[in-house]
Amino acid sequence: MRTLANVTELRTTPAIRLEGVGQIYGAAGDTVVAVEDVSFDVEPGKFVVLVGPSGCGKSSLLMMMAGLRHPSGGRILVEGKPIDEPDPDRVGVVFQEASLFPWLTAEQNVEFPLSLKRTLPKTERLARARERLDLVGLAGFEARYPHELSGGMKQRVSIARGLAQDPPVLLMDEPFAALDEQTRMTMGDELLRIWAETKKTVVFVTHSLTEAVYLADEVMVMSARPGRIIDRIKVDLPRPRTYEMLGGEIFGRLRDRIWRQIRTAA
């Protein structure tokens, strides 16, 4: 049995913690406040979706969590430690599109982050890459180049690459935005399956409210510039999520609430 103290201890180390995070662009005198005073915790294993009007700084926020940009104020902790630079052992990132290297095969793309540190021998790295491709449902496509894959398959490779070093946190910046509706739905289900299998903490940025509600444990709504968190909405739909829920009463109510927030915020 766990003691109460231990449980409290576990609860106080969130996967991601943002403390008063802000982002200001531009030189002195001519500055734009992109993100202002954002604080929140993401518990381990949770699926959090960030939504908000265009240009509200949700991608900026994600890039800061990835260590790709430095906040102008506040701090970001991943697994209890500050993230000052990209750390693929803690955080994997999946981008919108075209971030796979076209000169590498699917397998080599997934192996790329592993090859940077050379801690594993090549055969083991490739075995790991194949394992990840298998996880995202691309067994048999290892030798394909990105141009030989469909949009959905490319994003599967991106997810496999983001998971290559088995980081506890996966950040996704509108990963399915360039896909058609049907592929997008399928990829949503696939992502939920992968998430359930790997038990990662996911922060997912999207424009689609349906996608947000369908995927999330919690939806965070951001305001227009300067971006702030103006609402946090728990999605208490049971898992696994199914297509039938999309037409349900709870689903509609949640989506309406998010839409009203965004409309007033924009």
């Binding site: 990209p86 940077l116 180049y145 030989e148």
Partner: protein, 269 residues
């Protein structure tokens, strides 16, 4: 019945060969202007030693100029392409220089370097340098920044980002500018040999022309053609080897089949 593009190309080539032989033989063109193909080949093989030694001079000049033009062009282009500030400062200047007919400099080069190989190398190097440099700079400057962000997110440091992202991403554009620059090097060498020189295929063309020995002139021209086509074929081969991933077809296809993207003719003089 319809012909594939490849068959059509061979057919056109065959037609040129037939006309080259047939028109002078039929008396439709004076052999002074165009000697029959067989006569041209006979002239060439008759003097094979002379042609070979002059070809060797030309090849040597081309090889050294290639190193200067393409090596230098790729190096300078890489610097200008990867440092935007320097690029913005110098690229417009170099672009306008590229438009200058550089052949006007050749008399100066002969004064500086003499009429031997040095002046040819200097001229051809500068002639081939500009397109290689400009192409490389453009190729590197237009690399999708998303690739570099992605590499950074995976923990790649600066040397890794250069060697494993910038270099492979730039190879196709660098190779195609090398192809253009190299063709211009051949042009530069042959043209300068034709102007003022004492050896080389260009020198042969000029000296045979002044004595109206057209079959030997054409034999030399054929040799230059073969040289240019061989160079182009070589670069195409390298392109196919290194850029197998770069395909024209966007749709998912079965790997293994590699259709060529652009197929342009050799830039022969």
């Amino acid at each position: 019945m319809s012909l594939t593009p490849k068959q059509t190309r061979w057919l056109i080539l065959a037609l040129v060969v037939v006309l080259w032989e047939g028109l002078p033989r039929a008396g439709l063109i004076a052999p002074l202007f165009l000697p029959p193909l067989t006569q041209t080949l006979a002239a060439g093989f008759g003097d094979i030693h002379s042609y070979a030694s002059h070809l060797l001079v030309t090849l040597g000049e081309v090889a050294v100029s290639l190193v200067f033009a393409c090596g230098g062009g790729i190096l300078v282009g890489a610097i200008l392409g990867s440092i935007p500030k320097v690029g913005r400062l110098l690229l417009p200047l170099f672009s306008s220089l590229y438009a200058v007919p550089l052949v006007i400099l050749y008399p100066v080069f002969t004064a500086w370097f003499g009429i031997g190989s040095e002046s040819k190398i200097a001229f051809a190097s500068i002639y081939g340098f500009f397109p290689t440099m400009l192409g490389t700079a453009a190729g590197i400057a237009t690399i999708d920044p998303q690739y570099l962000v992605a590499a950074r997110s995976m923990g790649a440091n600066l040397p890794q980002r250069i060697l494993r992202v910038v270099v492979p991403a730039a190879i196709p554009t660098v190779l195609s500018s090398f192809r253009i620059g190299g063709a211009l090097v051949i042009v530069g060498v042959v043209v300068s040999e034709m102007l003022i020189s004492s050896a080389g295929i260009g020198y042969l063309i000029t000296s045979y022309r002044t004595v109206l020995d057209t079959p030997r002139v054409f034999a030399a021209i054929l040799l230059v053609l073969i040289l240019a086509i061989a160079f182009d074929g070589l670069v195409q081969l390298i392109e196919r080897r290194t850029s197998a991933w770069r395909q024209s077809g966007r749709s998912p296809v079965i790997p293994g089949k590699a259709p060529r993207g652009s197929a342009s003719a050799a830039a022969a003089p």
